[in-house]
């Protein structure tokens, strides 16, 4: 349980703050991810979650993403997902997160 199952990295791309989440975003890591995200989000105008390194996404993870989505909407900020792969892509599709958040296949596609 103590092993690191999630890692974060922040960079800039096309004027977006690109927040890379690597590993597993589940109930165990949800709180940490939520706090990290809040910090980053408060300073960013345009935030994109880079999911290329995300291996697992549970409903708790979806809830974190949904909260960010709501926050973005409330603050009038832009929010997007970048490059979900595999199971994550499936989960996002099954839960129809695409109905709330724009999903880009890669960071290059982020609009300027």
């Amino acid at each position: 349980m103590a092993e690191e199952t999630i890692a974060f990295q922040t960079s800039e791309k096309n004027g977006w703050t690109l927040w890379a989440v690597k590993g597993r975003l589940d109930r165990l890591t949800a709180q940490e991810a939520g706090e990290k995200a809040d910090n980053i989000f408060s300073a960013a105008q345009k935030l994109a979650v880079d999911m290329s390194g995300l291996e697992y996404l549970s409903s708790a993870g979806i809830r974190v993403l949904l909260k960010l989505t709501k926050q973005a909407k409330a603050d009038g900020k832009e929010f997007a997902f970048v490059a979900p792969e595999g199971m994550v892509k499936v989960v996002l599709a099954e839960s129809r997160m695409d109905m709330f958040v724009t999903i880009y296949a890669s960071a290059d596609e982020l609009p300027l």
């Binding site: 597993r24 589940d26 109930r27 697992y56 549970s58 409903s59 708790a60 979806i62 809830r63 949904l66 909260k67 989505t69 709501k70 199971m87 499936v90 599709a93 099954e94 839960s95 129809r96 997160m97 109905m99 709330f100």
Partner: protein, 741 residues
């Protein structure tokens, strides 16, 4: 109390023992030191006494020898002068007569009174014919020469004057031809010279005397033996030859007493047994302070060089050889010094004999005095030593007593904080964590007390924390069990068996309630509504949200769908569904539920829902998938996933549209609804079960199996995958096998 006494007693004994050891060591060292000093002092005192006295004796010996040597030399010189004058004068007398007789022509005959015929007064020169000449009648032949020789009479008178000191003495010429010219000094009270009776006896003939013969033979002056004069004083004569033109003609002589000399010798002896004596060239005593005994002058003198006492004989030989020395000799078993010096003019030797005891007695006295002083010193030192020892011992006892009491006090004072500490710790261990140890000793005990206080504080806060945590855990446990009961309570009861379908559902909650639920109920006789949902949170909030979602959904469904087919758009608050959909009320039901859930959902919770209605008569199944996992359907023996959800989960956003989808089931077909607790069941390697495995597991189930059997099989596959890992989410499944009429 045992411990207390133990420590106290130990400290007490430690101090006492240390003190004792110090005292004993001190006492031993000082005792030994003092003993050494005492012994050394006594020994030194004795040695000093002995060596000092030996030194004194030695010094005395040296001094005595020097003194005696000087004395002997001085005496010898005195004697030599005295005796030498006699010899000188005798020679002068002889010289005068020789001058007269060798130059007779220069002198006139002179008349002298004839001794024996007329009275002769003292100091009056006279002529005397020896008895033998008288008898032979040769006086006439001799007379002319005698009258010429009488010219020397004045000279004689002169000499007698110079020698007269109240004692008898004589200056004389004794001729070879038998006459004598003499001047006599008589003893006091005697007016005239006595002839024939005492002095000039009838047999008197000086020419027959041995020294007359000697000087005649040798031509040198000579001393006679010492003899006792008329007056009882020792006397000695010195005689010298005189000559006429024919050679030896007679002897001139002076006979004098040596009383002065004798007196000097007699009085200046040292000690009772001291003897002064003069030894002549033959080794015979001729003058001595001793009147009787070995060293007395005697009429029959003995040669001491041949004396039995070796040491004396040896020294006597040295004396006769004219040597001087101070020797140690033994006489009659006594030690003596013998100091002697030569009297060169006569070839004699002066000797003085001093008993050694007399000389060294002061040194011996000094020795015994020193020794007695040393003894006194050692005795006083010894008494000082013992006094000191006793004093030290008394002091030691006093100090020991003091040490005893001080040790008690100190050990008591030392132990008191420990006792306080012990009592405090006992109180704390008794449960009083508010107790603070107050020990201010400034040492390790205080540090220990502080540590105890700190430990107590930590223990207290730990216990408080533990209580808090326990309460929290209990709260959570309670909440969980309440949530679990809520969850279990809202699940529908088993439906009465119907021939048209076989339905079985199961939900296994995870340890922490996940928020899954399933539901089924008939809207009317032919329409069976089935739902599987998954709330995004866990625990109590999820359970409550679940209750709300389930209730809303059922309420809306029953409101919009029960009894009759609702007209499209009737009571709808939302845009009309697409015309392709034949069950718009279902869309409305889900939309309504979503709106209401989203209305007051500050927590951002959501629920994925798959809900659908089966017309048990026709097998037609209409459904809405709101963000839920796509169910599987088995049709004609083939298992497929239904298309992924067209709608998002409920509760996120109001005003959403939920399109209805449909499919038709034939008898034998099966629907399999589930939550992600199935597909995402993990083993210990965190590998999820996956949809693929679920698909495979379902495909493996032969047609004809009941819903319950199929669920059990899937469950088995999931368990096999998890391999004992505890499920982290509720595992919910619903199987619906359509049988038809």
């Amino acid at each position: 109390m045992n411990g207390r006494m133990g420590i106290e007693r130990r400290i007490f004994f430690l101090m006492l023992l240390t003190g004792l050891a110090c005292f004993a060591a001190f006492e031993a060292v000082s005792f030994l030191g003092m003993y050494d000093v005492q012994e050394h002092a006594i020994e030194s005192g004795r040695e000093m006494g002995t060596s000092a006295s030996a030194f004194a004796e030695e010094i005395t010996d040296e001094q005595a020898k020097k003194r005696f040597a000087l004395m002997a030399e001085e005496k010898a010189r005195g004697v030599n002068n005295e005796i030498g004058r006699l010899r000188e004068d005798a020679n002068l007398l002889a010289k005068t007569m020789t001058q007269i007789l060798t130059r007779r022509e220069l002198y006139l005959p002179r008349e002298l009174p004839l001794g024996g015929e007329v009275p002769i007064r003292s100091k009056e020169p006279y002529l005397f014919f020896i008895p033998a000449l008288r008898e032979s009648g040769g006086i006439a032949d001799v007379l002319p020469e005698a009258q010429i020789a009488a010219n020397a009479a004045d000279n004689l008178a002169l000499w007698t004057q110079s020698y007269d000191d109240g004692y008898e003495m004589t200056c004389f010429y004794a001729s070879e031809r038998g006459y004598v010219i003499s001047a006599d000094v008589m003893a006091e009270g005697k007016e005239f010279v006595e002839f024939f009776d005492t002095w000039y006896s009838p047999s008197f003939d000086p020419r027959e005397r041995p020294w007359y013969q000697e000087i005649k033979a040798t031509g040198r002056s000579v001393f006679t033996d010492v003899y006792v004069g008329v007056e009882g004083y020792p006397c000695i004569s010195c005689v010298a030859p005189y000559y006429d033109e024919n050679g030896f003609a007679g002897m001139a002589g002076i006979s004098n007493n040596i009383a002065t000399l004798y007196r000097q010798i007699s009085i200046n002896t040292i000690g009772d047994r001291g003897v002064n004596f003069i030894l002549n060239e033959k080794g015979e005593v001729i003058l001595s302070s001793e009147k009787e005994g070995l060293l007395a002058a005697s009429a029959t003198p003995k040669d001491f060089q041949k004396y039995g006492e070796t040491s004396l004989a040896l020294e006597a030989a040295c004396m006769t050889r004219g040597l001087s020395d101070v020797a140690r000799i033994t006489l009659g078993g006594r030690d003596y010094y013998l100091a002697y010096a030569p009297i060169p003019d006569v070839g004699w030797s002066f000797g003085t004999l001093i008993e050694r005891d007399v000389v060294v007695q002061p040194a011996r006295d000094a020795k015994s005095y020193l020794l007695s002083r040393a003894e006194d010193f050692s005795a006083s030192l010894q008494s000082f030593f013992w006094d000191n020892f006793l004093r030290t011992a008394a002091l030691l006892m006093a100090l020991l007593a003091a040490l005893f009491f001080v040790s008690r006090k100190i050990s008591d004072r030392f132990v008191r904080p420990i006792l306080a500490l012990t009592a405090g710790v006992r109180e704390i261990s008794g449960g009083n964590l508010d107790k603070k140890l107050d020990v201010k000793t400034g040492d390790e005990i205080e540090t220990l007390a502080d540590s105890f206080n700190q430990m107590t504080d930590e223990l207290k806060s730990y216990i408080e924390n533990l209580a808090k945590t326990t309460a929290e855990n209990e709260r959570i446990e309670t909440e969980l069990s309440v949530a679990a009961r809520i969850q279990a309570g809202i699940l529908p009861k088993k439906l009465p068996a119907r021939s048209e379908f076989d339905l079985f559902a199961s939900m296994e909650p995870a340890k922490e309630v996940g928020g899954d639920f399933y539901d089924y109920y008939f809207l009317d006789e032919n329409h069976l509504m089935v739902t599987v949902a998954d709330v995004s949170d866990k625990g109590m909030p999820a359970a409550l949200f679940m209750v709300v979602a389930k209730t809303l959904l059922k309420d809306c469904a029953l409101t919009f769908g029960s009894g009759e087919k609702l007209p499209v758009g009737a009571k709808a608050a939302h845009p009309a569904p697409a015309p392709t959909l034949s069950h718009p009320w279902l869309s409305e039901t889900v939309a309504q539920t979503n709106d209401r859930l989203a209305e007051a959902n500050d927590e951002g919770m959501f629920v994925t829902v798959f809900t659908g209605v089966l017309d048990v008569g026709t097998g037609e199944f209409v459904y809405v998938n709101a963000g839920h996992n796509p169910p599987l359907v088995r049709r004609n023996g083939t298992v497929d996933f239904l298309p992924t959800a067209q709608s998002p989960m409920l509760g996120v956003m109001e005003g959403l549209h939920f399109p209805v989808e449909r499919l038709t089931l034939s008898p034998g077909d099966m629907l399999f609804l589930y939550t992600d607790g199935v597909t995402e069941a993990m083993n210990e390697k965190r590998e999820i079960f996956t949809g693929e495995r679920l698909h495979a597991a379902l495909s493996a189930q032969p047609t004809g199996k009941t819903a319950e059997e199929i669920l059990a099989a899937v469950r088995g596959a999931v368990d096999a995958h998890a391999n004992g890992a505890e499920p982290s989410d509720d595992v919910t499944m619903l199987g619906l096998v359509y049988k038809g009429i």
